[in-house]
Symmetry: C2
Subunit: 413 residues, 2 copies
């Protein structure tokens, strides 16, 4: 099956957003082994959309559109698709009911605009949207199927995963199964160099690494007739990866570092608290984004000002004065202090220079100390996270990953 994507939205052509829906859907189709030949982005202009759609339907078996399903006058994707495929728009009562219930629940008035979202091409398969208001739809035409999805990524992505993928899996024969190994502390090219031969020779399963904000993910994908067969193909490859990269792998099919950490803490029966300066709450925010984090996470202190380090975390004033806020002893005092005031088993203390200003020759932007306190014993790690292309956000993100990884390593020792 050959596919192509059409993203509809003037905001993409103005550069206000990147086409991340396109990336997400591409990855999904690649997993299913569906060949994707084109992405096209077109504005909220019915004539240009119609011509793009017509060309796509003429050369591809499957066209997925994103965007233009909303309630406003410039949301025209559905109308253009219906017209191009020779279908009428009809009112879909269950969708209207869902919309009305949604509006009532939030005390909003149902307008004519909103009702527009419940009109769908006749005979289509309706894709309920549990993540927003506009339903999606699958329109099966002669020679080409068009699937329309809403544009906002937080609607588009789950709609693709939970509505479209099962439909496509049923149409395609066999299964495709992927497992992702997550790596920390090793760069993408180092991983690629190590795996170069393996990547070239492996065909089923395939092995593909990609970098993701300070981490490297390796996706192992197998094609087989059944799920069990696919799993049997994947298992030896995972063993092989563990042999090659074991020390750097922190999880397989785990959603994130914070998820792995919350699970590891729960397994070890230990609790954590954080004391953050340069990361400003990023670590605690990441950890508490995991549902159920409350079982292992007590909380933390964002000691941005030195006064808070001193008064709340009991970092001695003379240590701050002698070594500066960004220093090994301060990281240690912060970790110990937050254990003391929260009563947690483990404490992390993070202090550093996230930039863009505040760096010096002695203490450059990107210098970060992470202290780890476990039942009174403290160790501190010094990190140099600066460099070309490492902005404030990236340095904070890497500091947070490093801190969480230190705790994870401890839990698994």
């Amino acid at each position: 099956m050959n596919a192509e994507l059409i993203a509809v939205g003037t905001e993409l052509l103005l550069g206000e957003i990147a086409n991340t829906d396109g990336q997400f859907i591409s990855r999904c189709l690649s997993e299913l082994g569906i060949n994707l030949y084109y992405h096209t982005v077109v504005g909220d202009n019915p004539a240009r959309l119609a011509s793009v759609l017509k060309q796509a339907a003429g050369r591809s078996d499957l066209v997925i559109t994103t965007g233009g399903l909303g309630p406003t006058y410039d949301d025209l994707t559905k109308e253009v698709i219906a017209e191009t495929m020779g279908k009428k728009l009809v009112l879909h009562e269950p969708s209207l009911k869902r919309l009305k219930e949604h509006m009532e629940k939030f005390g909003r008035t149902m307008t004519k605009n909103n009702e527009k979202q419940a009109w769908l091409p006749e005979g289509c398969i309706v894709l309920d949207n549990d993540w927003g208001t506009a339903p999606g739809a699958i329109v099966e035409g002669e020679g080409c199927t068009v699937i329309m999805l809403p544009g906002p990524p937080r609607e588009c992505e789950p709609m693709m995963l939970y509505r479209v993928m099962p439909y496509l899996q049923e149409r395609e024969k066999g299964v495709i199964l992927s497992q992702t190994v997550r790596i920390f502390g090793m760069g993408e090219s180092a991983v690629e160099n190590r795996l170069a031969e393996l990547m070239k020779s492996a065909t089923n399963p395939t092995v593909a690494p990609y970098a993701k904000e300070g981490e490297v993910l390796i996706r192992v994908t197998a094609r087989a007739e059944t799920k069990e067969e696919a799993e049997e193909l994947i298992a030896p490859m995972l063993d092989r990866l563990h042999q090659e990269l074991g020390h750097a792998i922190y999880g397989t099919d785990v959603a994130s570092m914070e998820k792995a950490l919350v699970e590891a803490l729960a397994q070890k029966g230990m609790t954590l608290a954080t004391a953050e300066s340069c990361t400003g709450g990023l670590v605690s925010q990441k950890i508490t984004s995991v549902p159920g984090a409350s079982a292992v996470f007590y909380g933390g202190v964002v000691s941005y000002a030195d006064g808070v380090k001193e008064d709340v975390l009991s970092v001695p004033l003379k240590v701050l004065a002698k070594h500066g806020a960004v220093s090994e002893p301060v990281a240690a005092y912060m970790a110990r202090g937050v254990c003391r005031i929260t009563g947690s088993d483990i404490g992390i203390g993070i202090t550093g220079i996230a930039g863009p200003s505040g760096g010096s020759e002695e203490k450059p932007v990107g210098l970060v100390y992470v202290g780890l306190c476990v039942k009174g014993a403290v160790m501190v790690r010094k990190l140099n996270l600066g460099g070309i292309g490492r902005d404030r956000d990236m340095i904070r993100h890497l500091a947070a990953l490093n801190a969480m990884h230190m705790v994870l390593e401890y839990c698994r020792k």
Copy 2:
């Protein structure tokens, strides 16, 4: 001038990367007032690239390609462009010299593959690449100019800024100017209903709203011969928007709520601290993502466990027992407590149920209390942030926005 972009690279079609080059170039063209009608992504396949390129050259005055200029066998953009435009590739000696110097500098050997990068379409304008090895080029054809840029963003972006923009600025007359008004507390369709007539009738400047994770942005864009004239066109429209939506506008051309908040606090000369439960540090993380936040932000406490609310923030045990952690009095005590321990002028206390579990009929997922303490006086706002598509992340994000907006409102009173 009408333009379109073509990105070349199978990695885009596999979803390994998003087309951020496309976004960057779109923004640049929008600034110049060049109409961009299409983005196309195509793989490293000469036949499909040639057909896409031919179509683009037939309908647009300007085509910018990204990717496929590298040294490897599947980098074919240049070859296809030359053929489509009826030009021969010729060796560009100065580029060969640059390449050789570059290779020597890094102790690498010049291969035949590498030399390939110095072959360029005859008669083109060569764009020196100071950020990588492959030069770009401008090929002026009859009716259509094709500009080719390297794919890696850290090469593509400066090449666009410092090589292509000056060329286009010279060709284009006039400027385009945009200003963005940011709105909080009003949904996209409500904004559109209010502005429906204005949006339809406005042509220069144009008025276009779009939703962005809990906020609505309205972009006002004017075209004129000079920047001053464009500003004169925009000013009365901004006044008009303030008349229509004044209460809901929190900033014009400000990057984010947290940026607006840091500026407002600095202007008022007041300091802030946060006490967060359900948001788990998200508010402090957002605020400290703004460079220079340390001037107004002391820090905060993430009181995820009730013990931390009690011990660190002095929320009385009997209040927790009587009203529960998610309650009006607890939000008030948290806000007051964090002011006390940090010495800040303003304190925020946030407690709520972010889900997915933990909700009840009386206290559903999405119920959030935000307490605001200003020099001892406290007020609490009750929010219902749950609903379709509102997952844990979204509820936390909305709670953080609401809390920051409360402080911003206070600062501006």
